[in-house]
């Protein structure tokens, strides 16, 4: 007797919309670029998508917990500028890995700052992280005012050309992300995350440490943003303080089309990972169709608006019928 409901569909199969979109995008991309599944093409695509996959996974954790992190792009920028200025084009591998650790520490610290304001001072997530995003981008500009610097090419090539068993490195990273997520999902913390995102007050009454759960989501997001920063630096090989700025909206879009509700408590991390890949492919399609690049922003914005509005529109239509 239960009718089809969008909510229920999204609840049961959070990644449904993302996979549908992925299939459509893959088909179009395949028509435009018939060799896309060839080993080299696949790898060159996946290494471009990987930073966004990492970023979307972190964003998904925050959004599941009922928050949002607008500052992830800023954290990517900080990591990129730290690496590009401190390692340099002629730096040694030891130096590189040291600063990778330093920049990951910076990402965690930035996440902890967000978490402190939001979880402990109870400030609004969207405003807080919007404000800190300026702080972080500003800090990145302070480190590297003009684009430049970089990392040694041989280190960048590790990222670009590692294909164990002929599969792109990104596949292994995705597998690790999903395994870790599946583990977290089945721990007590995973349950807390959904409870806090779903109904923070009920969670509190049931003795869930709500404050710490929220804090942890921002730290996790900061950590993932730092990893994304390391990945994008190795991909580009150079430094630019503005590099992370356009990534924030994309990461939120990836989460939304991945079936993770912006209201929190519904969805997962797998959907957003698929969402990030889908958005990457859409970007490919746009560049292959030889249309102006501003279409890319337009298409992304359209996707996010449609994905956000769809449940509301369906509800509206349903209410009209009654």
């Amino acid at each position: 007797m239960k009718r089809f409901s969008w909510d229920e569909m999204m609840n049961r199969y959070p990644a449904f919309f993302a996979i549908l979109l992925l299939v459509v995008a893959l088909i179009i991309n395949f028509i435009l670029q018939p060799n896309m599944f060839a080993r080299d093409t696949l790898n060159s695509n996946m290494r471009v998508f990987l930073p966004m996959i990492l970023l979307a996974a972190g964003q998904a954790v925050v959004i599941l917990g009922g928050g949002i992190d607008i500052s992830v792009g800023g954290i990517v920028s900080i990591v990129n500028t730290i690496l590009a200025t401190q390692v340099g084009l002629n730096g040694s591998p030891e130096k590189m890995w040291t600063y990778v650790l330093v920049s990951i520490g910076a990402g965690i610290l930035a996440g902890a700052i967000n978490g402190f304001f939001i979880a402990f001072l109870r400030l609004q997530p969207i405003i807080t992280t919007y404000a800190t995003s300026f702080l972080y981008v500003g800090f990145a500009l302070f480190i590297l005012p003009n684009p430049g610097g970089g990392i040694p090419a041989e280190i960048a090539n590790i990222y670009r050309n590692t294909t164990p068993l002929g599969l792109p490195l990104a596949f292994y990273v995705i597998a690790v992300i999903l395994l870790i997520w599946m583990y977290i999902r089945s721990t007590r913390f995973g349950n807390y995350l959904y409870a806090v995102g779903g109904n923070a007050e009920a969670a509190y009454e049931t003795a869930v440490p709500v404050t710490w759960v929220i804090f942890t989501t921002y730290v996790a997001s900061g950590f993932m943003a730092a990893l994304a920063g390391v990945a994008i630096t190795m991909l580009s090989g150079s430094g630019n303080a503005e590099i992370g700025v356009p990534m924030t909206l994309t990461s939120i879009t990836a989460v939304v089309i991945g079936g993770t509700a912006l209201s929190g408590g519904v969805g997962g991390v797998a959907g957003p990972v698929v969402g990030a890949i889908t958005l990457g492919i859409i970007q490919n399609i746009i560049s292959f169709s030889r249309i102006d690049t501003w279409w890319e922003t337009f298409v992304k914005a359209t996707i996010i608006v449609v994905a956000l509005a769809a449940p509301g529109i369906i509800n509206l239509l349903r209410r009209k019928k009654v």
Binding site: E8, N11, T187, R188, N191, Y192, N199, E201, A202, A207
Partner: protein, 506 residues
């Protein structure tokens, strides 16, 4: 497992309002104590004191004869006190099992939740209520997919899964059907035999007599009677809950009969009004009538008023002066000259941080043209504030600077400026001081003499009896009784509120 809990001379204040002045309760292993009281008697405050949701201002809590102090619900939970909340504490988008075992999930050695054990334990718990709910209530069902009664069952199971020594059932039967109540009572008897102590808060008299061993009656924040259920009758209990001393002298309004002695015409006619809570309510209100709406809180009074004001969707027919109307938006109701004084004035009735002037004129700005004729607006607002003898620093002061009573005057004042034909009042005297209450009563009388129709829901039974000619009592979304004339007594009103069958004329 032996346990005893005593609450002695409990005092609890919310701001200036005293919710409990002398609350007492004793409960021991192996017994069910019913906590009884009319609206606003302090019974929900009392249960919140025991389970640590509110911190008491005075008096003593003794657990096993040792003084205790609970700073949070968790502290009380650790001492073995569990509560079934009426407002459910469940996460909608999580499964039944996840909700019941949240924070107490069985873990495997590797830190993962042992879902198999959790499902089995949940199934064992659900077994307690087996046969009383539909098959779709399974451990893996999402709580948001459940019906209200099933959610209530999950809430009960969540409390009992703590294996508490003291279990507080706060109106836990309100959304259960008779079979489920029956099963709950079987379980309560079993828990009783196991040595648990149970506090049963309910407004259903019949259930109290079926399950309780002892009773404790609250009236106006004071415990006025305790004893064994077998020594008391339903009638005596209602008597106990009924206050003797009257604070006010009310002057009744009788519908102004016109010179020829003809009856006033019917203003509002409602047929079979149904919403999520209301289950078919029909009523008629004459022009100039002050119709009282009584009953315990949350029996559909709010829905009735909101539906009439076009604020929530409904089924049924509403006629105003014989013409069928179907408001889909409060604006349409306002155009038909209806006014609503909502139950939560801070949230729904006022723009709390904005000025008194703005609040007064909010429904009527269009009268003042473009650009706004501010002088005229101010003069009108001042006139209305004088009429209501509003105590304020000035029209530009924010509403948040006013006392509860004066803030409520602003809510009524903003409608008076529009001169509506019909007022829908949702418990307008709640949290209002005695002096302002008296002014309200005078105003209501005046309005009805001017021929305005008023639907007046109040949680204060004395008000209803003192002011209204006719009171309808809602219970479980239906009109339980219509009281007027000689049948309009406090005993009948309370009896009908509690769902006692012989209360008043049906």
């Amino acid at each position: 497992m032996s346990v005893s809990l005593s609450a002695r001379n409990i005092v609890k204040r919310y701001g200036g309002v005293i919710a409990l002045s002398d609350g007492n309760l004793d409960v021991h292993s192996g017994e069910v104590v019913a906590l009884i009281g009319a609206n606003g008697s302090g019974k929900s405050t009392m249960s919140k004191v025991i389970n640590g949701v509110v911190v008491l201002d005075g008096g003593q809590l003794l657990l096993d004869d040792k003084p205790v102090r609970f700073s949070s619900p968790q502290a009380a939970r650790k001492m073995g006190i569990a509560t079934v909340f009426q407002e459910l504490s469940l996460v909608p988008k999580m499964t039944v099992a996840d909700n019941i075992w949240l924070t107490r999930e069985p873990l495997k050695p590797d830190g993962m939740i042992d879902r198999r054990v959790m499902r089995e334990k949940t199934e064992a718990l659900l077994e307690l209520f087996s046969g009383t709910f539909k098959a779709d209530l399974r451990p893996e069902t999402l709580v948001s997919d459940l019906h209200p009664d099933e959610k209530q069952i999950v809430e009960i199971l969540k409390a009992i899964s703590l294996n508490p020594r003291i279990l507080i059932l706060d109106e836990a039967t309100a959304s259960l059907d008779s079979r489920q109540v029956e099963r709950l009572f079987e379980l309560v008897r079993r828990w009783k035999a196991e040595g648990k102590a149970i506090v049963f808060v309910s407004h259903r008299m019949e259930e109290i007599f079926r399950i309780a061993d002892r009773y404790s009656v609250l009236r106006n924040g004071k415990t006025v009677g305790q004893g064994d259920i077998k020594d008391i009758t339903e009638k005596d209990l209602i008597q106990l809950m009924t206050e003797k001393e009257k604070v006010f002298q009310f002057t009744k309004t009788t519908i102004a009969e016109n010179a020829t002695g003809l009856e006033q015409p019917v203003y509002l006619e409602v047929e079979n009004l149904t919403t999520e809570i209301l289950r078919g309510v029909s009523l008629k209100v004459k022009q100039g009538e002050l119709l009282g709406i009584g009953g315990l809180q949350g029996q559909g009074q709010r829905d009735l008023l909101l539906a009439l004001f076009g604020d929530i969707p409904y089924q049924g027919i509403v006629r105003i002066r014989g013409e069928v109307v179907r408001f889909k938006h409060p604006r349409q109701a306002m155009q038909k000259k209806l006014a609503l004084v909502p139950g939560d004035r801070a949230k729904e009735g006022l723009l709390y941080i904005r000025s008194i002037l703005e609040n007064f004129l909010l429904p009527s700005w269009q009268k003042y043209g473009f650009p706004l004729k501010m002088k005229l607006a101010k003069r009108d607002a001042l006139a209305i504030s004088e009429r209501l003898s509003l105590v304020m620093a000035g029209l530009m002061a924010p509403v948040s600077s006013l006392s509860g009573g004066n803030a409520q005057k602003v809510v009524i004042g903003k409608w008076l400026l529009r001169d509506p034909d019909c007022y829908l009042l949702d418990d307008p005297t709640k949290g209002v001081d005695v002096h302002t209450k008296a002014e309200f009563y005078a105003l209501l009388t005046e309005l009805s003499q001017q021929g305005k129709s008023i639907l007046f829901y109040s949680s204060d039974d004395d008000e209803l009896i003192g002011l209204c000619d006719r009171v309808i009592v809602l219970h479980d979304g239906k009109i339980r009784a219509e009281l007027k004339g000689a049948s309009l007594t406090k005993e009948n009103l309370i009896a009908a509120s509690m769902g006692v069958s012989n209360g008043g004329e049906a």
